[in-house]
């Protein structure tokens, strides 16, 4: 048994957790901003896929990975704006629009990818991001090589967590976001533009979802495949709820999920496949559903989530 533990808990294992958590952290923070402003964005799955595609394409055509990241972020913002246009400006139902955005974005991603790269037996790949050891910090035993010898995007994700918390809890804009998500009527009376704030929050969310997509196709897989996202967007939806719409808790939830996922991968690799790996992949969804039932007593979800705001309606 101890041999098993040794095999599982190594530096490589810790590094794998961080790497699996990175796109989830970006996506979860993105979804959190959107939901804190009162807009559920079910377009996340498709937005991540389309961003992964545009990022990969831009990087592979230009040869610049950072140009790829930029393309992915812009794609995320654009699709976020589309979702915001429908749900915030036009006040259409958020869940149906979100599914529409996901169907549209995924379809567009498949279509454009096939158009640009054609049908190839081996999918084209790029030389993705390389690890970037941080001097001194990467020399810390165990933690150093696992956390501080990572891709640049990983560091960005780590920095994004306190930054998101700061923006949400310590800036006037963050206050506006929380207000329009909790009580848009009061926010409106206080002179906060509900429409503009929600629009901005959904677009910021889209940018973060774009980073998640960029990480998948340019750091994790170094290629775009149709299964590159494979449900990670839905995982993020679950993690936001599980993390109670808080940046720290949501990121913690992403880390926890990454731990379970990495464990599952290790157990498969080490031939300990008594428990089907799918059982582990199911866990975040089951836990979230249970958590929703438990938490429902002390409503923590943004009160105005799913509710469009129209000024003239009282």
């Amino acid at each position: 048994m101890s041999a098993v533990f040794e095999q599982i808990f190594q530096v490589g294992f810790l590094a794998a957790i961080i790497r699996i958590a990175t796109p989830l952290a970006f996506a979860t923070l993105g979804e959190m901003f959107s939901e804190r402003a009162g807009v559920l964005n079910l377009g996340i799955e498709g937005i991540m896929l389309l961003s992964a595609m545009t990022g990969f394409t831009a990087a592979s055509l230009s040869g610049s990975l950072w140009l790829g990241v930029l393309a992915a972020v812009l794609t995320g913002m654009l699709m976020g704006a589309l979702h915001a246009l429908f749900t915030v400006v036009l006040g259409l139902s958020q869940h149906v629009c979100g599914i529409g955005v996901t169907l549209f974005s995924s379809g567009l991603a498949y279509f454009l990818y096939r158009l640009i790269f054609g049908q190839q037996s081996v999918p084209p790949s790029i030389k993705g991001f390389q690890t970037l050891p941080i001097p001194v910090l990467s020399d810390i035993p165990v933690l150093g090589p696992a956390v501080f010898n990572q891709f640049a995007l990983v560091y960005m994700a780590i920095l994004a967590i306190p930054l998101a918390a700061f923006v949400l809890y310590r800036t006037p804009w963050g206050l506006s976001v929380r207000m329009v998500g909790e009580n848009p009527r009061a926010a409106d009376s206080a002179g906060v533009s509900v429409i503009a704030t929600r629009f901005q929050a959904v677009i910021l969310g889209g940018a973060l979802m774009g980073l998640a997509g960029a990480f998948l196709s340019m750091a994790q897989f170094n290629a775009f495949t149709f299964g590159v996202v494979s449900g990670r967007g839905w995982v993020a939806i679950a993690l936001v709820v599980f993390g109670r719409w808080d940046p720290w808790r949501s990121a913690g939830a992403a880390l926890l999920f990454a731990f379970v996922d990495a464990l599952q991968l290790r157990m498969q690799a080490s031939g300990l496949g008594h428990i089907p790996y799918e059982a582990f992949l199911m866990l975040p969804f089951i836990f979230t559903i249970i958590a929703m039932a438990v938490m429902s007593r002390n409503a923590v979800a943004p009160s105005a989530l799913l509710k469009p705001f129209r000024r003239e309606e009282r």
Binding site: H95, V96, I99, G100, L108, I289, M292, A301
Partner: protein, 351 residues
């Protein structure tokens, strides 16, 4: 000057005009992608049409593809009527497929097997839909998120089955064992894949329409959706109606899976549904939640899917155009629905 005014009622012809407007706008928008791919727009849409609706064989293929979307479309339409936001038709379909595959693999007389497959599939779908409905009624849990997340749970359960106990030990492929030959749904037209399940789907639509429009349960479902306070005031047990709606909706989605197992694939694999559950949302919205409208809406989407492959072979435009059309159609329909809420009125020329 023009002004937006809130509409109090919508004329009946809107039910037909709005979907047609949305579909028209979708085809115009997506023609940009065809042009981008360097093909003729008219030619591409022409091939798409002939390959899906141009001859009797093509029509049967389109109908085979429409059948699961009629069921998921009905499932979503029924649920949305009660404002039970069932985004989980995909998972309910998969549960129905798995359950019917279990039953279909048991040797027994064919007709009995088919009936039991349908019962098991419907029950499995209903059981899955019961989870978000119960959570909403008992714990006030948001049904959008819980029903969506259940899709992933069911998908992984299906994967665990076909990569575990069900795995084909001979080939090693992650597919379930096939159902008994006698349980295969009869083909109605020699030389086609048109199976009994397609007819059942076509019969189900008017039945569900009757249920919604003409029965007490249907009335309760509609009132619960339109005005739960009034429903409660009028003595309707809203919670019970939501549970009944979920059972009905889940059962319908489960039947979509039954048809795919009994009439098309005869076994279960990971890609048994190319997102028919999500397409059901598109179908239901295009149909304006009218069960009778679900049939043409499902046929439209099925025709796009069937036609896209032929269009791709003939013109080189990627067949994924059908996915874009589906997403665009849903968004366009949502925008078109604004016309039911508002009207544009001309007001005095100058201020």
């Amino acid at each position: 000057m023009f002004r937006l005014e809130v509409r109090t009622s919508t004329p009946a012809w809107f039910n037909l005009a709005l979907p047609l407007l949305a579909i028209g706008a979708t085809l115009v928008l997506c023609s940009g992608l065809i042009a981008l791919a360097g093909a003729g727009v008219i030619e591409a849409y022409g091939v798409m049409f002939t390959a899906s609706l141009g001859d009797s064989y093509a029509i049967t293929e389109t109908m085979v593809r429409a059948a699961p979307m009629i069921f998921t479309g009905l499932a979503v339409a029924v649920a949305f009527r009660a404002k039970f936001w069932n985004i989980g038709a995909e998972g309910q379909l998969l549960a129905g497929a798995v359950a019917s595959c279990f039953v279909g693999a048991i040797p027994m007389p064919g007709p009995l097997a088919m009936v039991l497959m349908a019962v098991a599939g419907a029950a499995a779908g209903a059981a899955v839909a019961l989870v978000p409905a119960t959570l909403r009624v008992k714990f006030k849990v948001d049904d959008v998120v819980s029903s969506l997340l259940l899709n992933s749970v069911i998908y992984y359960a299906l994967m665990a089955l076909i990569e575990g106990p069900w795995k084909d030990s001979f080939s090693g492929y992650p597919i379930s064992p096939p159902i008994e030959d006698s349980a295969n749904f009869p083909v109605l037209l020699e030389g086609t894949r048109l199976h009994l399940g397609v007819v059942v789907a076509l019969i189900a639509a008017p039945l569900i329409w009757f249920l919604i429009v003409r029965t007490t349960l249907g009335f309760r479902i509609r009132v619960t959706g339109e005005n739960p306070e009034a429903a409660r005031y009028g003595g309707i047990h809203v919670e019970r109606v939501l549970i009944s709606t979920a059972l009905l909706s889940g059962a319908l989605a489960g039947l979509a899976g039954v048809g795919e197992v009994g009439g098309v694939h005869f076994q279960v694999m990971s890609d048994i549904s190319p997102g028919y559950g999500y397409s059901g949302i598109v179908v239901a919205m295009l149909a304006r939640l009218n069960p009778l409208g679900v049939v043409p809406a499902a046929i439209f989407l099925a025709a796009v899917m069937t036609g896209a492959e032929a269009m791709s072979r003939a013109t080189g435009v990627p067949a994924f155009l059908s996915d874009v059309i589906q997403g665009t159609a849903l968004l366009a329909m949502l925008v078109a629905l604004l016309f039911t809420a508002y009207r544009i009125r001309r007001v005095g020329a100058a201020r």
